[in-house]
């Protein structure tokens, strides 16, 4: 079975500060991808960043970066210079074979002005 665990249901960050959202996963596959999605109050699911497991280098997209620890099966999302618009629910996801996509329970991030 494949699981994705997000153990922190809520986090809060001061505007302009940095916050890290944690995710661990379990997979039996040797090659896979990992994703972080953002869901703002509009409910729309938006891809934030993806990581290819066979790549050593951590993915970066502007203010968003990941800390990928393959041996530990950890995939954390770091948000730098947090903005009010970053307030949302964030989901970690890991596809299985045949692209069956499994999500964590999500983390609600609030940003304090």
């Amino acid at each position: 079975a494949q699981t994705v665990t997000q153990s922190q249901p809520e986090m809060s960050v001061q505007e302009a500060e940095t916050v890290t959202l944690s995710c661990t996963y379990d997979t039996s596959e040797s090659d896979y991808y990992l994703f972080w999605y953002k869901q703002p109050p509009s409910r729309q699911m938006i891809l934030v960043i993806r990581q290819e497991a066979y790549k050593q280098q951590n993915a970066t997209e502007n203010r968003f970066s990941v800390n990928f620890q393959k041996a530990a099966k950890s995939f954390s999302l770091k948000i730098s210079d947090s903005q009010l618009g970053d307030a949302a629910m964030y989901f970690c996801a890991c596809p299985r074979a045949n692209s069956k996509l499994t999500f964590g329970k999500g983390i609600t991030l609030s940003v304090r002005p």
Binding site: Q6, P9, E29, Y32, Y33, F35, R43, Q44, M45, L47, R50, E52, F91, A93, P95, R96, A97, N98, S99, K100, L101, T102, F103, G104, K105, G106
Partner: protein, 115 residues
Amino acid sequence: DAGITQSPRHKVTETGTPVTLRCHQTENHRYMYWYRQDPGHGLRLIHYSYGVKDTDKGEVSDGYSVSRSKTEDFLLTLESATSSQTSVYFCAISGYTDSSESEAFFGQGTRLTVV
């Protein structure tokens, strides 16, 4: 934006009635998914499809059935709706290949209330 549309967007129905939600895509993606989203549970996979007439169960499939008679449409049916099926339902599509690298694109969601 990916061409994926869910209908209806909102629905209120009575316990025991059948309900069908529709997901329509214009992207020719092979894989289609139905999820439900509930507080404290995140997104849970109900059913998914990996091709026309090829479907499989997810983790919370009891009480739901699906059909996919053509690439662009994936229907989710609640045969006899119950209050526990009150939720927000999302359709997603991914993968024009077998690769797991493809991101998923989501519909806008359907808020279903069973009274």
